[in-house]
Symmetry: D2
Subunit: 371 residues, 4 copies
């Protein structure tokens, strides 16, 4: 309730601070009988892992995930799947000066305002490190979706003013794209941009896009648990995200209805074919079977090496030069976080949907006699 | 769970279809002892009411709200406040042709895909009429926030490509602004735009902005129940909303960290003053005491009078000319919906926050002896 | 959250005070496509209705239920089913003296202690009248269970020291049994007991038993949402209930393990047959396909006509002679409340169970292609 | 949702199987700033620990609790407190025969019926070992309650037919009472009973009682979240519990209203004094400031060494002689589990109650200015 749980039937609860004993997640409500091993999770963890490239933080974390429970003989048991990731490479002493200083762009002050004190080591609970637990849990949801033929394609669409080109879109390149851009040229440009900013001690933001295909029509719930509403929460809950769009998003505001409606046309057999997917696959909060299309804007890492002015616990302005190891651009590592949050949201909605029709409930129980 | 409840401590549940007996809301968890009468609610309902201007639907609904429970002797009781709004001016026969046709831009197909059939009269549960219940409940939350010195300023920032000017910002004009724009000039321009589109049988979208001032620092919860995440869900759950931004939103993506961080500077006494509010008043999901700034993009009404091609229940392309009474621009009426959803979200977060510190819990119970 | 919602997928929210405009319920998460009309609900409401016999309160309430939403063309829509019951026969002036007096055995003092004031007319929200909304919602769940071959048999097992006999058990007699006892002789004895107590201005409690047959094996969830735990909450939340037992209940405490375990024996084919059902059909919180057996103890109506000593708002002892119209024994009318709460609990658990296995999720979605 | 979370504001989620890597709990919503160290928790863990007496299982578990998160500098942070208990002394091979056999009195069959397979080693998730995680989390709640002057007195009231005597009630003896009985004589008798049954390979059940004093008036919520309803769920969710009573419980059923009502009398100053506490301190689901009195019936351990007949996966009757190390009477070790579940429930209700009155919300925020 207090903030660290997400989902309805499929509920993930995360825990952990950046420099504590460990972080992790408990995933409850996951169906029994899916094959699962630690390597399934590690494949996603590696996409988020720090210290892998020139444009990432130098913090080294193996991010080895231990499955504490919920898996027996290589299969999910239906019981809570608890996942533990130990913290290894904390340099807590880097943060001693933070004890009495609130950094610009960070949650230092707000945590103090709420709780009366805070774990000032590496941002504590507000650290981006928290998202490792989301990836660990989300990887499990993503695996199940994949088994059901649902494809999640998430990538970096922009870094600063470098945008990918639809013409150069190259999915295969994603595996080796350091920026997460599916575009060889844009990746190169963005690398240059980031390296330049890192040299200046600065950082930059970007845009993440997601296309989810294979989700059947009918997924999502009316009114408050609309699929797009839950996706918006899922993505906006990632610390660095400042904006979430579904389909054509903000451009819908500038359109006329006749342009914005996804019109149908007749094919040669008179069958209706939807000509566009401006709605992003969701109407009234419920999928229509088209691709779900979404995007989110990620702010630049607030931890920069430039001289800044901060505020101390007495309200005084103090000079600040942040130590620690930070990403000049968090976007590439955040892609898999957005993907995993979306996977959790969509699988939850699919589970919720199984009870939407009385006939399906009846059919499910028709063959099941009691004694 | 299935979709029509929102909130944690303060929980609103809505019900009702566009052409059924009525719509309404149950607001549970509202504190006891606040003065409340129907007129408090009607003041907000009138801001959403249809049929009030040249640019609104001609459907006439008094939208009289009856308080069924939870109020005694003019005060909230702490028990559920049930609110009922009867439907009066349904022209259900307008919708007979919809029985077998799925309109472009609407949830007709998706509701069928989910439930196997649907209430095709006026969109049923997916109708914008559902938002009247949100306003009725949200008005109660907004009243309490106002009593605590919290000011919610919501307005239309853009309609199509007509944007308000910060220089001409005129809050007082809001009461008489037909478009909801706090700008005499832009209001005039937007009126012209809308009337032109209505004449063509078309519609247009726009942008709603909100500034919430007076919220103390420390409100919101970590990780998934971040205040911005819950606001994103609250706003994206409004049917027509396609994008939600907090603070500078999408612009954060294009910024450098040194530009995007809200820096401090020293005033004459050496006290730190925040120079900007690009974060929109929320860090790590928790308020810092600055104004909460947000915006959302509203799509153009999908119900347009132009000839369109729809899909029928057999998958065939069929010509469509929508009857019924529709708004050429829903943005002006949606402003109060966004405001009320934000009010519910913020009050809920403020209630949640009261238990954040052990010392506050101890203090609360210190004077309360048992027998 | 604050108290008036119950359930997970199938969530009921009730509202209303004894002497307010009305009481009601919103049932969200109910599957679409079940036939439902008001008469389906009224059949259950009549079993709870006051004023029907010599041993019931004289308050006359038609308890007509209006379905406000969620039903279209005689079928549930999958959207919230809102139910409204108007209050008609309030004699609020009977309660004027209660304004400053806390009655023994009632929630008068505790509501004041919590909320700072209370609706003193007829107990307000704490009145047994609140249970009418539970019956209205529960009737819908019970109808669906019945359609799936699940039989709920609830009855009065004891009133004061008059207990039913297993030998004389007569289900058919239940329709005409004024006490709710399925035993002609016990009914007669209990009637005599109650009439004698009513003459003295006194009241009496009793025991309600329930046997639910036809629930498949595998229903319920581990640990906290055990089916028996949820049933215990469901029943204990009925105001007059003071004890809940599953299976042999309290007698398990006095048994040896070898007596208490439900042993198997071989039939002529060597197949195992369970010899007893002391567990009441639930192991580890999950059904085994046997009958679910439960009981609850109902306290005597605290409103009695005898002279009592009460406490006033200043803490002084004051003489009390309660006016108003009360049941000398609430047990007969509470039977259907227990049944309806059980129906809501069991249907919710059955819906929850549909996502327990990955293979079932896969199978459900196997045939459902997206575009 | 799926079953392993409990609570509203204060939410505990547990995980783990009897023979997996470990078990544990995540406690979210706990207020920041309370002193907490592992030893605070271990003091409760030791009361539940196996292998401590002649009447306990021989399984040796240190049950060392590691605090993984949520505590910084010896104080709770307001963030999730994750607790990990490693499993050490599994003898999984003892359970190989269980792979194809469903034991009487256990959840073997029901878990298979639900999930399609099960972790058959030591009962998996359905093992009583799961309750160690409840104690770890509940100890934290209990500590906070204690700091606020709330006393939880839980003890064994009966084992089989050996009952404690109110006259011999000796709280100090509890620390050394092997049976958990606060009565030297009854403890002796019960020890004899248990040892006799152990020799026979049998087991026995009993009754746990709890008296909670110091809870202020006004705690609990109306209708479904009544404090007694939530306590009933909390206790019934403990695997071995088959019945829960509040106050005089089942005896209320046999009483007349004039006997059952807790009457007042005037003291020498005319002040009203409650003469009895038959209601157990709760009216309408809300505390009146008297002691909360409850009890629950615990069934005998189903794992007995006697020859029994079980059912195998093919439905055949098979002879069973259970190996493994089991408690002939689980009651003494279950006392602290009941206490901890009650502590979690009551603290949650106290947190919920802080927002019950608008005046308290206003007062809380009155001094808190935003910028």
């Amino acid at each position: 309730m207090a903030g660290s749980s997400f989902g309805n039937i499929l509920k993930v609860t995360t825990f952990g601070e950046s420099h504590g004993n460990g972080i992790g997640a408990v995933l409850d409500g996951f169906p029994a009988g899916m094959d699962l091993c630690e390597e399934d999770i590690m494949a996603y963890m590696r996409r988020r892992k720090p210290g892998q490239s020139a444009i990432s933080t130098a913090r080294k974390e193996d991010d080895e995930v231990e499955i504490l429970s919920g898996v027996f003989n290589g299969k999910t048991e239906g019981t809570p799947i608890a996942l533990l990731i130990r913290n290894n490479d904390q340099h807590s002493s880097d943060y001693e000066q933070m004890k009495t200083i609130y950094r610009p762009g960070h949650a230092d002050f707000t945590y103090d305002a709420k709780y009366g004190f805070r774990d000032y080591r590496g941002g504590g609970r507000s650290s981006g490190r928290e998202t490792a637990a989301r990836v660990a849990a989300g990887a499990i949801a993503a695996k199940f979706l994949k088994e059901m033929g649902i494809d999640l394609l998430f990538y970096t669409a922009a870094i600063g003013d470098v945008m990918i080109s639809r013409e150069r879109f190259n999915r295969k390149f994603l595996d080796s794209s350091v920026t997460g851009m599916p575009d060889v040229v844009a990746n190169q440009q963005a690398m240059g941009l980031i390296e330049g900013l890192r040299a200046e001690g600065d950082s930059v933001g970007g845009i993440i896009e997601g296309h989810i295909s294979g989700v059947p029509a009918g997924i999502g719930d009316p009114v408050f648990n609309k699929l797009d509403a839950n996706l918006a929460k899922a993505l906006m809950s990632i610390g660095a995200v400042k904006s979430v769009s579904i389909g054509n998003g903000i451009f819908a505001a500038y359109n006329k209805g006749s342009d914005n409606n996804d019109q149908f046309e007749a094919d040669e057999n008179g069958n209706a074919v939807k000509k566009t997917n401006r709605a992003g696959g969701i109407y009234g909060g419920i999928t229509d079977g088209s691709d779900i299309v979404l995007s989110c804007a990620v702010k630049p890492t607030p931890s920069i090496a430039k001289d800044q002015t901060a505020i101390d616990v007495n309200g005084k302005a103090v000079p600040l030069n942040v130590k620690g190891r930070h990403d000049p651009c968090i976007v590439p590592r955040a892609v898999v976080v957005a993907e995993c949050m979306s996977a959790l949201t969509i699988l939850d909605a699919m589970l919720m949907n199984m009870t939407a029709r009385a006939e399906n409930v009846r059919k499910f129980y028709a063959g099941k006699d009691s004694e």
